[in-house]
Symmetry: C2
């Protein structure tokens, strides 16, 4: 499957705007309906309340609460590459396209603890290797968020 | 780290009892406090309401809702090997021991769609490879649950 015709930069900027709400953990995610080009759900990192509430999980929970099941028409935008928890969640939900900014490798370089499995690898080892992962959209802006956050934490 | 001195069979039987509540998706999980030997949280598969609510995620959410942060004293018992979403969640939460019944390999053999990454591999590629994974506790009983469920689904 090829990447969709959505404006990846514009939607990633929405995720970045959200991420500014949690500057010490600037993980922001939005789910976009490819048919309408609209944001239908969103989430930011809430791991201080629940350690598994990464931005992606919060966004998926937000959409699930709406009682809909048409996950396959959604694209997930997220400021950082989904970890294997979040990419696993994407697959179980049936979301077929993921677009991220900062890579797991870059987060590690910056000093963030990470599980060293790329989103691409999770997809490749799943029952549906045709799920699309688009890397590095607005990467410079996203990298800057995570550099700033790690400096705050020190 | 060595496996704890908990009675793994007894606690797995509690997870199996829970799993009987959702016979078409018999994924049951309990969190046990190693200091008191008591079950402090539990969860069953609720993926019909939210596709990411595997038993393990439901149990972690159950404990998070209690507002506690002492995850490192907990052991997770679960009828099937945690997928990379659930094992990732275990790591992010700070749970340091996981005990499972049926393996991902066995689920695949039985016809369940799976992400082909073992819980051990997720741990080994994380920032904390000392997290313990104990495989195959009450495996025959657990395998039977999943064989029955897949027969129901056909």
């Amino acid at each position: 499957m090829q990447t969709s015709s959505l404006d990846h930069d514009a939607h990633m900027r929405s995720a970045i705007t959200l991420a500014h709400k949690t500057p010490r953990a600037p993980f922001g995610s939005v789910l976009v309906d490819r048919q309408t080009n609209k944001i239908v759900a969103s989430g930011v990192n809430q791991s201080s309340a629940n350690p598994i509430l990464h931005g992606e999980i919060a966004a998926i929970n937000d959409y699930a609460r709406q009682g809909k099941s048409d996950w396959n028409k959604l694209t997930l935008y997220t400021t950082a590459e989904p970890c294997c928890m979040c990419q696993g969640a994407v697959l179980w939900a049936g979301i077929r396209e993921v677009v991220f900014g900062t890579s797991i490798a870059q987060l590690k370089t910056l000093g963030w603890k990470q599980i060293d499995i790329t989103a691409e690898e999770v997809v490749a080892r799943s029952w549906d290797p045709s799920v699309v992962v688009v890397a590095g959209v607005c990467a410079a802006e996203c990298d800057q968020l995570f550099e700033g956050a790690i400096a705050c934490r020190r």
